[in-house]
Amino acid sequence: MSKVQIKKRGPSLDMTAMCDVAFLLLTFFILTTKFKKDEKVVVDTPSSTIEVKIPESDVITVSIDKKDKVYFTVDKPIREMVLTAMGGAAGIEFTDAEIETFSNMEMIGMPMDKLKAYLAMPDEDRAQVEMEGIPVDSTNNELGKWLFYARGASSEIGVNPFIAIKGDNKASAKKAERVIAIFQEPPNLLTKFNFITDLEQKPKGL
């Protein structure tokens, strides 16, 4: 008997459209992805339901980590100005290489008298050293100076900085109060600022 042979083959699907979609999505994700910066200091912020957007630039951040150490962050364009001003006030002159290193650091958390030595270290050594935190005592209030010069530098380039406190869950309330007190004290007299928090769902049924 003669048989009609039918070739068994899966239905051929046109993949072109699927491919288009895949790559469209891929492009979207590539463009929107922002890789988390490698932060040496981990600050795990508490969450809140309040949604005030933090701007992308012109932010001055005071961070408090879980060991209650205080760090200071300013935007890259003014970092050099701030460091030079701080150095000038403390009578420390920084070399170009040290300023360069400073410009590439996200957070600064060293007392002024140790900052120069810290910046002069080779990169590998610096990675090993744990930062000590910026002094906030009333006798040696370096945070106030950092903030003052950072605000000065911001106004020099004509921006109004967004000032925020970024505290760790486990940081003490006492330290946060001290930082707030420094904000309010002369010469800063700063009364409006923000707490950086993670976003949390608003409770329903209220």
């Binding site: 992805t33 988390k36 486990k170 309330a173």
Partner: protein, 165 residues
Amino acid sequence: MAEVVTGKKGAPRVDMTPMVDLGFLLITFFMLTTTMSQQAGMDIQMPFDDGKNKENTKIKESNALTILLGKNNKVFYYQGLNEPELKLTTFKPDGIRKLLIQKKAEIGEKMFVLIKPLPKASYQNIVDILDELAITAVPSYTLTKVAKEDQELVFKNGYTEESDE
């Protein structure tokens, strides 16, 4: 003349399957690495303090609700300022939030909340309480230093672990 049949004309078919595979693999990678956790800010407006102006805003005693933040997420509160009775509550929704809603209904728009972190409170407590106040839409509140009287009141009620040391 014999014609040479060349078959259908057209672009050669390319098998797209591996390309789609690759596309989706990369999508998966970027989707997973994208940080979706948004950072938000919490507006804080502190009173102006230049060390000279020591005149305090007068508020009616019974309208003032003082919240003391203690060790291990404890929340103490008392109403009024004269011989107050200290009570303990928690950060749970049926704790401080319920209390704030209730007090707000009792006192109304004149309600004023004072937040005072005790020495052992954490930063998270401050953010949490400010968040609760925002959720319950309390009209006016302030974050201030804990007074000696408050600490004494807490000790008197037996919470001696709230001391400085």
